[in-house]
Symmetry: C2
Subunit: 314 residues, 2 copies
């Protein structure tokens, strides 16, 4: 059965999805091309793009995109270009985040960060190229029978997710947060929540929304998946904060304990580790509630995905 | 008359166009908003976006976009969002180009570069936000009566212009060029040409193409405008190289003579200043030839624009 009903079934379901996603991502950035002028310099950028895009990562965003598409009655293949696009946008932002002038990180998914391998200039080009390719991929969905109106709406969602209504706002809030003072814990928590919604949840939301758009979902279905994804995205970030404080760099595959050192606002810092874990569990319950009304068999992967995120150890 | 037939008429025509463009750009990035969460951090990014986007620049790209739209029978206002989008993409790339890890420039249009004023982190966010806003602006053209098909095609052109088929390829070639050796002058010239076509001409092309798409142009009209714009874009870069070598920083409003110091490949370096000027003039003639077949009154601004670029002093 393609539907996951137990933990182990879900893991294998997720691995299968990740396999299709990885294959599509691999094909999207060739290492060989005889028709591109300036191929040699471009090849170096392609290598840098592939380095961060393949093969690591849990593929949570593209998987969510594919599952959302299927949930509303679409084919997995219809949402594949958009799913890849969302992962490209994510990879592009990771490359920039790790730069010396940003978070100055040297380790990501257990490997040296992009600029450590390719140099800052090529990393910045790779990040730009990934975002541009994301748009091109999504536009190519018209060749899979998706209407221009729906493709346009999908591109709009993605642009929203990476701009000042999404990622940029979250990162700007992150920068500003280090020098901000708050009147009370409630204010601090509200700020933290908005920051994480923008830094993480908005792109997770976009993944689900874009999948549902490609699959031909109704406005109501899209809205419900969006609410689910917002909870999941926020929960993902809460758990990220918890893991950063409680796990080693080795376990995480990236520099651990960094939030504490840099004095960043995090959930454990504002509410304590235990309360943060409780909050993640509450978000999980909320996420699951938003899925009521969908076919109870078909939502199983999304329920399992939320469970998986709240239980994850790295 | 709105059509420019002499040098001075063209200058005032261009100033008028720049005025409408500047107004639209100004409106596109507000300094006041009561409905955006995280407004304070976002405001800082908006300021950085505006700093590079307004008010400097010759507005060659957006102007070309508007004129192309009108030439094929469209209204200026129909292409205005796309014209702004092209200028945003241009500004976004200028911000990144000037970063310490890229060209490390401290002066641009007579002012300190973006990161000198806002810091590298905010500059990078501003650059990303400008590119995302460019997509949003272009998509909004549907509200002006442009079909979804045409809007998608326009977004595709823009994505192509900034990715590995455009800007990124040109910049990667620029990076690689510093360490490349060539068998002969012909090879060197071919490489230089491809580099500049990608670094500059492809976005100038996109400006014209997108304008013609928005204006409802036929495929043939779009192709002719594209060929014209490629010549103009390349000519623009040839003159940029010439000016960098022959003018002072004060005259240019940016660091002059930098290409020589950094050992960059330039037209004056490969063919000498005089030959480079001659080449620019030849490109001007070619550009004008591509406009044959259009209404001879309506092409006057494009002919004047090409003349203006080949004669410009900064």
């Amino acid at each position: 059965s393609s539907i996951a009903s137990s933990d182990s079934e879900f893991i294998s379901y997720m691995k299968n999805k990740a396999k299709s996603i990885n294959k599509a991502l691999d094909n999207s950035i060739p290492l060989c091309n005889n028709f591109v002028p300036l191929w040699e310099p471009v090849l170096e950028v392609h290598k840098a793009m592939r380095y961060t895009l393949l093969p690591g990562g849990k593929r949570v965003r593209p998987m969510l995109c594919l599952v959302a598409c299927e949930l509303v009655g679409g084919q997995e293949s219809t949402a594949m270009p958009a799913a890849c696009a969302v992962e490209m946008i994510h990879a592009a932002s990771l490359i920039l985040d790790d730069l010396p002038c940003m978070d100055d990180d040297s380790l990501r998914r257990g490997k040296p960060t992009n600029h450590k391998v390719f140099g800052e200039k090529t990393s910045i080009l790779a990040s730009n190229a990934l975002r541009s390719l994301a748009v091109k991929q999504t536009l190519a969905s018209t060749s899979l029978g998706v209407t221009s109106e729906r493709v346009l709406r999908a591109v709009q969602e993605m642009a929203r997710a990476v701009g000042t209504e999404g990622l940029v706002a979250g990162q700007a809030a992150d920068l500003a947060g280090e020098r901000m003072s708050f009147k009370n814990e409630d204010d601090e928590l509200r700020y933290l929540e908005l920051m994480h919604v923008h830094k993480t949840a908005v792109l997770v939301e976009a993944a689900a929304v874009v999948g549902a758009i490609m699959g031909g979902g109704s406005d109501e279905e899209i809205e419900r998946l969006k609410s689910y994804a917002r909870c999941v995205g926020l929960m993902f970030q809460v758990m990220d904060d918890v893991l950063d404080e409680t796990k080693s760099s080795e376990e995480l595959g990236k520099t651990a304990g960094k939030d504490l050192i840099t004095g960043k606002l995090t959930y454990p810092k504002v509410m304590g580790v235990d309360n943060a874990r409780e909050y993640a569990k509450r978000l999980n319950r909320e996420a699951q509630e938003h899925l009521q009304g969908f076919d109870s068999d078909k939502v199983v992967p999304l329920l399992s995905l939320a469970d998986y995120i709240v239980k994850r150890q790295n």
